[in-house]
C-alpha cells in the first residue's frame, strides 16, 4: 500500500507519562515519527500533540484507534495535508561577518519572507515559518551562499479546515453523559 504523510492530532489530559504511552504505540509497530509537537491547547488542562509520519492509511487508522483507546486520551484523529492548514518554524544561525560579506539580507527577506531575530558581532539569526519544503529551500540556499552555523526546525503544528470541531464535540458529548449520571 502507498505511503503518505499523515498528521495525527491528539488531545489529552495533562498527566505524567502520556507522551510515553503514545510513543510506545508507534514503537510497537515500527513506525517512525517524522515530527512531534506538544503544547497546551486552548482549553486549560488539555494538551495537544501533533505528530506526523509516513505510512499507509491502514496503519494510521489502527495507530489512531490504539491511541484513542488510552484512558487519558480525549480524542485522536488523523488528516492528510489537504485537510489542514499547517506550519513549521525554522531558525538559522549565521556568522554576521559572512552575512555582511554576502551583503544581501534584503534578498532573503523578499524571497523567503524571513524575519531577522538577532544581529550581533558574532551571529545573525533568521526565522522562517512555512512548510517543510520552504524552510528546507532557505536552508539549502543559505548553506550554499553564506554557510549555516546552526539550524533547527520545529515539529509541525496544524489546524483543520473543516467545520467539525472534534474536541469540542467530544467534550460536549461527555458533559451530557456526566449529567445523565
Amino acid at each position: 500500500m502507498e505511503k503518505t504523510l499523515y498528521t495525527i492530532t491528539v488531545f489529552s489530559e495533562n498527566t505524567v507519562g502520556l507522551l510515553n504511552q503514545i510513543t510506545v504505540i508507534f514503537t510497537r509497530r515500527a513506525l517512525n515519527i517524522e515530527t512531534l509537537s506538544v503544547s497546551p491547547s486552548a482549553i486549560k488542562g488539555i494538551h495537544k500533540f501533533t505528530i506526523t509520519l509516513f505510512t499507509t492509511k491502514d496503519a494510521v487508522e489502527k495507530v489512531v484507534k490504539q491511541i484513542d483507546k488510552r484512558v487519558d486520551i480525549l480524542k485522536a484523529y488523523y488528516n492528510t495535508d489537504e485537510d489542514l492548514v499547517h506550519q513549521e518554524i525554522a531558525l538559522y544561525k549565521l556568522a554576521t561577518e559572512k552575512v555582511l560579506e554576502h551583503g544581501s539580507i534584503e534578498h532573503f527577506i523578499r524571497k523567503y519572507n524571513i524575519r531577522v531575530l538577532e544581529i550581533s558581532n558574532d551571529c545573525t539569526v533568521f526565522l522562517k515559518a512555512g512548510h517543510y519544503e520552504e524552510t528546507q529551500a532557505l536552508f539549502e540556499e543559505l548553506s550554499k551562499t553564506i554557510g549555516v552555523l546552526q539550524f533547527v526546525r520545529s515539529g509541525r503544528i496544524a489546524i483543520t479546515r473543516s467545520k467539525v470541531e472534534r474536541l469540542s464535540d467530544m467534550l460536549e458529548n461527555m458533559r451530557k453523559i456526566e449529567e445523565k449520571q
Partner: protein, 564 residues
C-alpha cells in the same frame, strides 16, 4: 473534620470501599506500611501469601475470571514488580480486571537507582489499561477509585498502582468517593441504531449464518441473551478459547471450539457460511489462520466493545460497536425467527469424520498408553461437567479446551493471548478462592507445572482444595509436536527428566498418586474427587501424543491436519 490516618490505612479502607475481600500478595520493604495496615484488617480482607509474585498475579487473574470481580495483587517494589509483569501482560491480552499494587521507594529516592527501585510505571504502561504512581497520600483514594473503575469497566484489563513508601506513611484525612466517570474514557459505547439495522438485515437474509462466540459475551454477562439470539434465528455457533463455557456444551446450536486445534466443522464452516457473526472476539491469529483466505465468501458482522478491535484484523461489512449486553437484545428485536435446519445438519458430516479419525482414538483408546484426552474426558464426567477447568499452556490446554465440558458459564480459565506456561497452578488457586463452592480441576503438563510448582506451598498453607492433574509425557509436548511436524523430528531440548511429583506434593502434605496404567485411572479420579481437599494426580500419558486436528500456523482454516 475527619480524623487523620496514615496513607497505608487510607489505602486499606479504600480497598474495602471497593469491595475487596481477597488479596494475593507477597510483602517486602517498600510495601511494609501497607502490610502493617493489612494486619489490622485481617477480619475483613483475606490475604493469600503466594510463593512468588508471578503466582500472586496469576491467582488474582483466576479469581477475577471465575468471579467477575476485580482481582487484587499486592507486592513490593523492584524485583517483585518485575516478577508480576507476566501476570499483568497476561491480564491485558485476556481482558481480565486486575489491580496490581506495587510498593515503590520513597519520593525522595525516586530516580536515584535506590535499592529495589525500578520504573514500574514506565515498564507497565504498554501492558496495562492504566498505570499510576501514587506520590502523596492525598492521591490515594482518588487513585484507588479510578483504578477499580478502569479495571472493571468496558473491556476489562489490568491497572497498576505504584505506591511510593513515603505516601504510605503520610497522614491524610480519609474521604471516599467512588469513580463513575472519566471525561476522556468511554467504557461502554452506546449502540447505534443504524449499525444494528444493518447487521439485522444481513442476518435476516442469511441462508448459512454462523456465529463466533468470544469472551466478550462472558465479560458482558450476556450468556442468556446469546442463547436467545442464536435460538431465534437458528444460528449455529462455536467458541474461541476464551469464549468456552459461554454456551453449555450440550446446547443444540453449540458446534464446538474454533481455531488451530478446534473442531473440524466450525473451521470448515467459517469458509462456507454466508454471514459470519463475531460476538465479543478479536479474530486472533490462532482462530483465523491466514487472513487472506479467511471467510472471504461471507459478509462479516463484528460486534465488540473495543473500537480498536473493529477492523484490526478483519474488515467487517457490518461493525457493531458496543457491549454484547446491549447489542444482542437490540439485534434480537430486529431479527426474524428462522430455521436453518439443512445448514445446521451439514455440520454433522465433519463431526462424524473428526469423531472417527481423532476423538474416538483420543478419548476411548482400547489399548496402548494413556492419552491426555481420555484423562480429561474422565475428569469432566466425574464432575458431571459442572467443574471449573483451569489449564496451563500447551497440549494439556488444547486437550482440555477440546474435551472438557460445561454446564455453567465462567468455567474455563486459561492463558489465551499470552500463552503463559506456569499460569495453571496459581490461576487454579485464585479460581478456587473466587468460587469456593465449585470444584476446580487444573490440568498442566510436566513442563508448565514446574514453572510455578512452588505454589504448592500456598495450597498447603491455605488448604485450597484444587484438584491438580499433571499430564506427564516427559516432553514439552506442544513444542515436540511442532518439531515432529515441522522440524524433521529434531527434538531439540524438549525431553524432560522429571522428579517424583507425588513425593514433592507429599512434602507439602498434599495427597496424591501417580497413575501409569489405564485400569488405575478411574479409581484414582474417584479418590481425588472424594472430598474438597487439595489433590495431585499425576498421569503418565503417551510420550509422543499429538493434538489433532491442527491447522498449521498461518495457513488457511480449512487446511486441517487430522493425523491420518
Amino acid at each position: 473534620m475527619a480524623q487523620k490516618i496514615n496513607g497505608a490505612h487510607a489505602f486499606m479502607q479504600a480497598l474495602i470501599q471497593e469491595g475487596v475481600e481477597t488479596i494475593f500478595g507477597y510483602p517486602g520493604g517498600a510495601i511494609m506500611p501497607v502490610f502493617d495496615a493489612l494486619y489490622d484488617y485481617s477480619d475483613q480482607v483475606n490475604h493469600i501469601l503466594t510463593r512468588h509474585e508471578q503466582g500472586a498475579t496469576h491467582a488474582a487473574q483466576g479469581y477475577a475470571r471465575v468471579s467477575g470481580k476485580v482481582g487484587v495483587s499486592l507486592v513490593t517494589s523492584g524485583p517483585a514488580a518485575t516478577n508480576a509483569i507476566t501476570g499483568i501482560a497476561d491480564a491485558l491480552l485476556d481482558s481480565t480486571p486486575l489491580v496490581v499494587i506495587t510498593g515503590q521507594v520513597g519520593t525522595a529516592l525516586l530516580g536515584t537507582d535506590a535499592f529495589q527501585e525500578i520504573d514500574v510505571v514506565g515498564i507497565t504502561q504498554p501492558i496495562t489499561k492504566w498505570s499510576y504512581q501514587i506520590r502523596k497520600a492525598e492521591d490515594i483514594t482518588w487513585a484507588v477509585a479510578r483504578a477499580f473503575y478502569i479495571a472493571r469497566s468496558g473491556r476489562p484489563g489490568p491497572v497498576v498502582l505504584d505506591f511510593a513508601k513515603s505516601a504510605q506513611s503520610q497522614e491524610v484525612e480519609f474521604e471516599y468517593k467512588p469513580c463513575t466517570f472519566i471525561r476522556s474514557y468511554i467504557p461502554v459505547p452506546a449502540i447505534k441504531d443504524e449499525q444494528i439495522e444493518k447487521a439485522a438485515g444481513l442476518i435476516n437474509q442469511a441462508k448459512k449464518p454462523f456465529a463466533l462466540v468470544g469472551q466478550g459475551v462472558i465479560l458482558a454477562n450476556a450468556e442468556k441473551e446469546l442463547l436467545e439470539f442464536l435460538e431465534k434465528a437458528d444460528i449455529p455457533a462455536a467458541s474461541t478459547l476464551l469464549g468456552l463455557s459461554a454456551m453449555p456444551s450440550d446446547f443444540r446450536l453449540n458446534k464446538g471450539f474454533l481455531g488451530m486445534h478446534g473442531n473440524v466443522a466450525p473451521n470448515m464452516k467459517t469458509n462456507e457460511c454466508d454471514v459470519l457473526i463475531a460476538i465479543g472476539m478479536r479474530f486472533d491469529d490462532r482462530v483465523t489462520g491466514d487472513l487472506n483466505t479467511y471467510a472471504k465468501q461471507a459478509k462479516i458482522i463484528h460486534m465488540d466493545i473495543d473500537a480498536s478491535e473493529i477492523g484490526k484484523n478483519v474488515t467487517p461489512d457490518a461493525p457493531v460497536l458496543g457491549s454484547a449486553k446491549d447489542s444482542l437484545p437490540a439485534l434480537i428485536q430486529k431479527i426474524k425467527p428462522a430455521k436453518h435446519t439443512e445448514w445446521i445438519d451439514s455440520f454433522a458430516e465433519h463431526l462424524k469424520r473428526e469423531q472417527e479419525l481423532v476423538i474416538e482414538k483420543e478419548l476411548f483408546p482400547a489399548s496402548g498408553e494413556i492419552t491426555m484426552g481420555e484423562v480429561i474426558h474422565k475428569v469432566t464426567k466425574a464432575t458431571a461437567d459442572s467443574a471449573i477447568v483451569v489449564t496451563d499452556v500447551g497440549q494439556n490446554q488444547m486437550m482440555a479446551a477440546r474435551y472438557f465440558e460445561y454446564t455453567k458459564t465462567r468455567s474455563m480459565v486459561t492463558s489465551g493471548g499470552l500463552g503463559t506456561m506456569g499460569f495453571g497452578l496459581p490461576a487454579a488457586i485464585g479460581a478456587k478462592m473466587g468460587a469456593p463452592e465449585r470444584t476446580v480441576c487444573m490440568f498442566a503438563g510436566d513442563g508448565g507445572f514446574q514453572m510455578t510448582i512452588q505454589e504448592l506451598g500456598t495450597i498447603m498453607q491455605e488448604q485450597i482444595g484444587v484438584k491438580m492433574i499433571v499430564l506427564d509425557n516427559r516432553f514439552l509436548g506442544m513444542v515436540r509436536q511442532w518439531q515432529e511436524l515441522f522440524f524433521d523430528e529434531r527434538y531439540s531440548f524438549t525431553k524432560m527428566h522429571n522428579p517424583d511429583f507425588v513425593a514433592i506434593a507429599k512434602a507439602y502434605h498434599i495427597d496424591g498418586q501417580i497413575v501409569t496404567k489405564r485400569e488405575e485411572l478411574d479409581g484414582a479420579i474417584a479418590d481425588m474427587m472424594k472430598d474438597d481437599k487439595p489433590y495431585l494426580l499425576v498421569v503418565e500419558v503417551e510420550q509422543k501424543g499429538m493434538v489433532y486436528p491442527m491447522v498449521p500456523a498461518g495457513t488457511c482454516v480449512t487446511n486441517i491436519l487430522l493425523g491420518e
